[in-house]
């Protein structure tokens, strides 16, 4: 009985530790801020955690005449498998960070059309993806 209790307790504690160690999207998104290119002012960080979801999505009103940058950060410095797609208010695609099977870790978007934009993060396979992202702007 004692052994069973120790076993159950250990599994419970270890699973808790491992799940918190698996994804710290908040820290990763903070690490993304200094990776915005020179001249960009920081605006937002986004947590990108798959956690059983097909995608993670945020929105932001972009202004004509302003250039925005969105980047992606992952634990092993390699954001392969995480794709960021930018869509306009009519859900028409503006840009996607996967090109010819290559994953690009940052998109610079000089906005020419004011409106709501959707920033959608998708994942390329069943793996448990975890990352962070930052949004910046410059005039």
């Amino acid at each position: 009985m004692k052994k069973l209790f120790v076993f159950v307790f250990s599994v419970f504690v270890l699973s808790g530790f491992s799940s918190s160690a698996q994804c710290n999207a908040e820290t990763l998104s903070t690490q993304c801020i200094p990776k915005l290119a020179s001249g960009f002012n920081f605006l937002k960080t986004y947590k990108v955690e798959k956690a059983g979801k097909e995608y993670v999505e945020y929105s932001y009103v972009f202004t004509k005449g302003t250039q925005y940058m969105i980047n992606i950060c992952a634990p092993d410095q390699n954001a392969d498998g995480i794709i960021v797609t930018l869509e306009d208010s009519d859900r028409k695609k503006v840009a996607s960070s996967k090109v010819d099977d290559q994953y690009i870790s940052a998109i610079a978007y000089p906005c020419n059309k004011t409106g709501i934009y959707y920033i959608r993060y998708t994942f390329d396979d069943e793996a448990s993806y975890c990352g962070g992202s930052a949004l910046g702007f410059k005039r």
Partner: protein, 298 residues
């Protein structure tokens, strides 16, 4: 058992009739109930809150026009003592936040320190003062070489506060904070535009606020049945929306192209938008904005 029931009833009656319940407590309770009524509402509120642009974007644009810093556009820190309810505190925290961003962009360190201290006081009153490390910020403000770090820290602080308020079921304060910040940015832009008639960029920016106002109205609508102050603010902003009625924003979509430069995908946006707004529209928006702001900062 009878005594227990009688005691509970007595406590209930006393609680309901308590004359000491403060305005702030009533405000918080009513709004907390609104939040608890539906997590869906809370989720939608958070989604919209995230999409409202930072007033900092407008401050950068204003500096770009070549217009000099003008403290007369801002809400004086001396008005702090007027804000005795959480409703007023949250709105003016947003207003002062925009003013701080404006002073930072123009590297007006002395004014920046005053605004920072005012914001800290308001934040303390709203129990969110822990997010401001005054010593660090004062050090950054004192040296213009630290502008990037200062902007970063203040933006991070306000993002953290918004996140904290949402996790504490106090999103209503975030909504007010954001509304105040947006209104102040609009007000400053309108004043700068008055001194720069014919500046197309400023006119387009003012017209583009129609989109953001729609989102703010949607946010406030969640609280209109639970709090009279927020219902009143919604009503005033709906009247402001009417002054945007003649503003048209037309968009044309064209697929974008791109090239990858140094590991960054640089997009070429082939879409476009055009904002049509007249001087008369701008004057109406300015008058309405001034009136609403005057009530908030008084």
């Amino acid at each position: 058992m009878r005594i227990l029931i009688a005691g509970l009833l007595l406590a209930l009656v006393m609680a309901c009739s308590s004359p000491n319940k403060s305005e702030d407590q009533a405000f918080a309770d009513a709004l907390a109930n609104t939040e608890l009524e539906g997590q869906v509402i809370s989720g939608e509120v958070n989604d919209i809150l995230h999409r409202i642009p930072s007033p900092l974007e407008i401050s950068v644009l204003l500096k770009e026009t070549g217009r000099k810093y003008d403290a007369a556009f801002l809400n004086s820190p001396d008005n702090l003592s007027r804000y005795n309810t959480n409703y007023k505190r949250a709105l003016n925290l947003g207003i002062y936040g925009t003013d701080l961003g404006y002073t930072n962009i123009y590297e007006q360190s002395q004014d920046g320190i005053k605004y920072m201290a005012t914001i800290k006081d308001l934040a303390n009153d709203l129990n969110i003062g822990q997010f401001f490390e005054m010593e660090t910020i004062a050090r950054l403000v004192s040296n213009s070489n630290n502008l990037d770090s200062l902007l970063l820290i203040t933006t991070q602080n306000f993002n953290t506060i918004n996140h904290y308020l949402q996790t504490q079921n106090r999103s209503h304060l975030s909504v007010l904070f954001l509304t105040g910040g947006w209104l102040e940015a609009l007000h400053i832009t309108l004043e700068v535009a008055k001194a720069n008639p014919g500046n197309m960029q400023l006119q387009e920016t003012i017209g583009g606020q129609k989109i953001i106002l729609e989102n703010i109205l949607h946010l406030l609508s969640f609280y209109k049945d639970s709090d009279a102050n927020m219902a009143m603010l919604l009503g005033e902003l709906e009247r402001l929306q009417q002054s945007f009625d003649n503003v048209t924003i037309t968009t044309i979509y064209q697929p974008s192209s791109f090239e990858v430069i140094d590991g960054v995908m640089v997009v070429k946006d082939n879409s476009s938008s055009t904002v049509v707004i007249t001087e008369s529209d701008i004057e109406n928006i300015r008058t309405m904005t001034r009136n609403i702001r005057a009530k908030i900062i008084s």
